[in-house]
Symmetry: C2
Subunit: 448 residues, 2 copies
């Protein structure tokens, strides 16, 4: 078999046999298929129809490329969560302490910023001292002791995905369903969780712009989960505008702290409570999803989730004093306000455009080796549907890099569209799904 | 501008502005766009509709990436030739001495093996001592003194293409019309020729399998030529079966010597004489194309072309004694015969399959750094339409690598299909084209 012949077959829409995929990835691991050849296969796969067979084959190849974590010694149902990535999506930082406060064990494996979206690990690393790569023994101990851990994929878990993830990010080959499915599910399966909750984003700020695409992915993921004995449920959520107010690593941590202390961002907490309800239900700490949601609200209201967050930061080497007093943190060197040029109703806030602009400000990476500026980003002052007056602030930009923020302001303003009529509130959560079904979301949605 | 955003736009079928293409290639030259990102753009371009605008923009970017050769001090019309590449296509080695023997000056710039097809430079290098990279001053002097030179692209001519060519070869991104057009035409324009003759291959052994695709490329190439003041004409030829008998570097040199000494392979010489006729006509050494063809036949018949070939080999450091006595050359270490399993008429000889098998035998490269075995390859004993008897030899395989040639034989045999009826002779040359027109080929075809 020649690698370029396998690429050509994929390019020309011919089916690839499982052993051709296995050969190609095996040779890639051994250095005989180059990064360029892998990229060519990835881009050609963008145009090929996604199939469950390919998702299962890739997931299997991915899992077998490394070792698996065994958490069976720890009692209880271990529940992990994954989001397909959005702009301003900091729900993971909220869910881990909320679910843990409810008694669910959460071994969460997270990733880096990808494309125009942020990454949980980058957000955590903005907390001074926070270690996202504790050794495996520490992960097991921490999960046992405080019921939660937030870590990056360790080098020996799905090493293949690690290399391919870096390639996909910079080559615009992220949005390929079977690869997304294999990337997500292989890590979750190898990570040792007993159940998984998914947040599949749909909209202009998501990798899946169309709901139908998001639904296709949802069924692929839940189907792979079932095949590998990992019960998987989730929701499809709206990512047309950024989630919450903050975009950028430390800025998002501050918003998380605000929410855990009772200053709740409505759209962000609506999505967070739905996911938390699913996790608490799957973790057998509530009889139904709606009861799980009630438990989640309760642990936030009583401050237990905030206490858990401090405990998490402390356990992973972070300095909790920055969480207790976020103003202690150094500010970005430059900040400017973007104001509205006219009065009206905010009709659109382009999440994708703001995500890309935040990357340019320093909140993300253009190349895998780029350093992230933890203080950089954008904080919205208005959300879709709100009234704005001429000269009223739409958002604030923060950066420490040598940017011409005044010039930048014009590009940011273009992401906001103002109309003259009231608009109906858009749904934040579209659907609930598991491996059998997709139904419109309600807190009464069934979970296995 | 972010490279991955430019890739995404191309991937999603959005038009790319000229300055986006310029930015992307400029950053590639400076090392800020990686090989993987270039590959992603290439593969996504495979699915984008080809346009003349893009071909012109790319050609311009390619030319400006390096310097240009000035041949204006040399009198006469300098005519170059290019083939889009086929299996067994050794016409360049025939055309240079034939056209030069007719008095046309031929500054030919050639390439390496690409995918399943051979490369003129690799064939020339199989001649002991032959230097395909003479310094620019030697190229001009040789062209002046003996009227011909065969050289690889020098490092300072279109350096951008050099890098991209290597990528395309191993990533199955060769067949992208605007890139093919830019790659071919930028080198020819920067190479300093006054006119250009093209051989566009169509069929299962060509990069363009369909004639309609080959015609689209033909008009793109001739249009780019006109835009950059390089008169460009050509023919579209049949590449369903290999051209001539030999596939593999030294094996093809031997077939060239045979043809120049009067043992002519019919299909190979039909194509060669048509191209030579165009070159001799464009070079103003014949009033018409058919007169050019007659001149070409004459210089071969009288042995003048063979003399010219010896002169060329000598001028570029090669040892002419191997050309005068090809049996002096060391043989491949292993050779086996592939015989027919039944009697009948040869209906098909799959050029693409044999090209790929020849690469595996050592005649081409799987990776850019692979070494070529000059003695490796396949020599056909039969051509399509000929009768074969059971146990009669179809072809012979040669290799010095540690291959199980007996096992290999089975895969080679599958490239031959035998039927029980006579079949009509297929056209070898389909069409003549220039920047204005494509018409069915005849030796009376008009050339500007």
């Amino acid at each position: 078999m020649l690698p370029q012949e396998i690429i050509r077959k994929r390019r020309d829409g011919e089916p690839l046999a499982r052993q051709e995929l296995e050969f190609f990835f095996q040779e890639f691991m051994e250095g005989n298929v180059s990064d360029e050849q892998m990229t060519a296969l990835l881009m050609a796969s963008f145009y090929a129809p996604p199939t469950m067979d390919e998702a299962l084959a890739l997931t299997d190849i991915f899992i077998r490329s490394g070792s698996r974590i065994d958490l069976s010694a720890i009692p209880g149902v271990k529940v992990d969560k994954h989001s397909t990535g959005g702009v301003g999506d900091k729900t993971s930082l909220l869910l881990v302490p909320i679910a843990a406060a409810a008694g669910v064990r959460v071994p969460m494996i997270s990733g880096r910023a990808l494309g125009h979206t942020g990454g949980t690990l980058d957000k955590l690393e903005s907390i001074p001292g926070f270690n996202v790569h504790p050794p495996p023994s520490a992960i097991v101990r921490q999960l046992s002791e405080i019921g939660m851990v937030m870590a990056g994929q360790s080098a020996d878990i799905v090493p293949l995905d690690r290399r391919i993830y870096a390639l996909r990010d910079v080559t615009s080959t992220v949005e390929i369903l079977p690869f997304i499915a294999a990337s997500i599910m292989s890590k979750k399966i190898a990570g040792g969780a007993d159940a998984l909750v998914l947040d599949i984003k749909a909209g202009r700020g998501a990798f899946m712009r169309e709901r139908v695409q998001a639904e296709e992915l949802a069924l692929l993921l839940a189907g792979v989960g079932r095949h590998f004995d990992l019960p998987t449920v989730g929701i499809i959520t709206n990512m047309d505008e950024p989630l919450g107010y903050a975009i950028g690593n430390w800025l998002e941590v501050v918003e998380v702290v605000d929410c855990l202390q009772g200053r709740e961002t409505p759209d962000l907490m609506e999505v967070t409570y739905a996911l938390a309800g699913l996790m608490i239900h799957l973790g057998r700490k509530a009889q139904t999803v709606s009861e799980g949601i009630a438990v989640a609200r309760d642990v936030v209201r009583r401050g237990l989730a905030f206490e858990k967050f401090l405990e998490l930061v402390h356990a992973q080497g972070g300095d909790p004093s920055y969480i207790q007093e976020t103003l202690r943190y150094r500010n970005a060197e430059a900040a400017v306000e973007v104001v509205a040029l006219c009065s009206g109703v905010l009709h659109g806030v382009d999440a994708r455009a703001l995500g890309l602009l935040a990357v340019e400000l320093g909140a993300g990476r253009k190349q895998p080796t780029d350093e992230i500026d933890p203080t950089a980003g954008i904080v919205l002052a208005k959300k879709i549907g709100e009234h704005v007056e001429e000269d009223e602030v739409l958002c604030r930009l923060y950066s420490s890099a040598a940017h011409d923020l005044v010039h930048f302001r014009e590009r940011v303003r273009e992401a906001f569209s103002i109309g003259d009529r009231e608009i109906p509130r858009a749904d934040k959560i579209f659907s609930y799904f598991d491996s059998d079904t997709i139904v419109p979301w309600s807190p009464e949605s069934r979970a296995p």
